[in-house]
Symmetry: C2
Subunit: 331 residues, 2 copies
DNA sequence: TTGAAAGCGCTAACAA
DNA sequence: TTGTTAGCGCTTTCAA
């Protein structure tokens, strides 16, 4: 059996209260007694039972993070950053993955809350008033990332829409006349929270329209989306740019184009988004949008802890971080 | 304040025991009472306090995983797999990152144990009898991955050494005569657990020696290791192969070689290890070693839960999984 | 400076 | 079928 405070107390011939004072640097204890207890704790290999402490304290010094998976390189980097910052602030981390399943996400949240995490960083796939009511019912500090929910919820991220307007501007200025946009299915719109992807698309369309350019074909990234791409005829003289809503798609398209023997950017331009770290190994260098993924992690963890420790009824002004277009050779 | 079992009991005019029976599907309760309680629970938005349950049950239905970081793509995939399997088995996941700092790792372990996780998946950077004694003192089921500790500790992984012997064989058979090996610093040998990297190197040297080939230069991956690489003259007629102990290094070297205007594999061969998922976007296709990283995750989680539920004194025979050389165009 | 005791929310054994 | 009660290991308040 594990050694408890009572055992220590008995061993040292003092009361549990005194042991507690010694162990937790509380005042009102003679130095000698304290040393005694500490020595005994070492000797008997005492370890505090944090679940017991949590029960009385009502908090666990633990944060929860909810993501849908770790396939996208950025999420791993984010998680890494969150863990780092959390530990720096004296917190540890529960992780729960949802597989993009809204119900699953709720279960994860439920679990985290019941386990009394002190706060949650949430990349949600849910949305809507009902869900927000549900979240409120959890009565726990929450920071949202990537997918925005509403002003009610502190959000750490970048101005997705503005960034894609800039992208449109950037590409048009480089002389491209014709455009193709590739992004994941938005058809779950209303069913699943696609905020980030939606904003990027809207931003791109807005950007084009500001330049007086008509809406381009939008290809949805299914299993066989490359066939759809094939159907759109890409003529060199058209000066076509393929814009992808994330780098992973752009890389696939690049492979496809290479396979077709098309030269980038001579025959067709290509643009990604995310600036994932492996891009540095890819030729030609992909032009992309960079945002400070690690900062998002740090900021989210920091804000969350702030909310936890200084009351979570204050919805801080959500932070938007800077992005920038990273010029490569692909457009 | 949160609604407790007592509140529910009062509300329904029954005892806490009865509420417990209703909530947890225990026998010996009238269906009607049960329905009543369940309805009240829903109405009052009752949530069980899992820390309280943990305190009396002595377990948390939580696993801990200790990694050093998530920079290597494989670790993220592994973590993803572990989370998936854990959840499937009814467990949730604590994650702790150690930054390759042995002391930090101990603190992480300490924390997980004190938080009463039911078991730990450990990618350790520690080693040695003393550390193993320390681990034993934690009295908790542990599965080791990647870095082997000793027979005492169940291990899930592949036969690193054999795999690199095979690599040597493979490369020599393809006509290469001259070799350069690149791997992370092994100088911490004895201070830090470098099992995986050590085994790969040993395997490679053994493989060469079996072919009667002398020990090749080994370049340690520092910040300026490329300078060291520069000093080794690579003559085309020498048929040189550069073998890297992981894909990330190979990709850097590939960049370097491309920058030098050297052709792969015509001028020099290049080999990686890990088969990280981004390789599919890299030209030329890197020849590498693939192992089932997700299986390692599943297996580790499964074995751990098995140990937890069926006693952890039985050290199961450690599992070694299959690897294979994936032929690319780089060697 | 120390001890005694109540209680965090839940489970489980025993009694009714 | 239900109620009562004694903990789980810790913190905290009050009394000595």
């Amino acid at each position: 059996m594990r050694v408890t405070i009572k055992d220590l107390a008995k061993y040292c011939g003092v009361s549990p209260g005194t042991v507690d004072r010694a162990l937790n640097n509380r005042p009102g204890i003679k130095l000698k007694t304290k040393k005694n207890v500490l020595e005994a704790a070492r000797l008997l290999n005492y370890r505090p039972d944090l679940t017991a402490r949590s029960l009385v304290k009502g908090r666990t010094m633990t944060l929860g993070i909810v993501l849908f998976d770790l396939y996208n390189r950025s999420f791993a980097q984010l998680l890494n950053a969150v863990e780092l910052k959390a530990r720096e602030l004296g917190y540890h981390l529960y992780i729960a993955l949802t597989d993009k399943d809204p119900e699953n996400e709720k279960q994860c949240l439920e679990y985290l809350v019941n386990h009394k995490v002190d706060g949650i960083i949430l990349f949600t796939v849910n949305q809507g008033k009902e869900f927000e009511e549900y979240l409120k019912g959890l009565s726990i500090p929450i920071i949202t990332i990537f997918n925005f929910l509403s002003e009610q919820w502190e959000y750490v991220g970048i101005q997705e829409r503005a960034s894609m307007r800039d992208v449109a501007d950037y590409i048009v200025n480089r002389g491209y006349k014709s455009f193709i946009y590739i992004c994941p299915p938005l058809k779950y719109l209303g069913k699943s929270n696609m905020y980030t992807q939606e904003e990027r698309l809207k931003g791109f369309l807005e950007g084009l329209s500001m330049k007086g350019i008509a809406e381009p074909p939008v290809i949805i990234k299914h299993n066989d989306y490359l066939k759809a791409l094939e159907k759109v005829e890409i003529k060199i003289e058209n000066r076509t740019a393929i814009v992808c809503s994330c780098d992973l798609y752009a890389l696939e398209v690049m492979n496809y184009l290479k396979g077709k023997g098309m030269k980038i950017p001579e025959d067709v331009g290509l643009m990604g988004y995310d600036n994932i770290d492996v891009l540095k190994y890819i030729t030609p260098k992909l032009t992309t949008v960079e945002y400070p993924i690690e900062c998002i992690g740090y900021k989210a963890a920091e804000s969350l802890v702030h909310k936890i420790e200084h009351g979570y009824f204050t919805t801080e002004k959500s932070a938007t971080l800077n992005y920038k277009i990273v010029a490569g050779e692909s457009i």
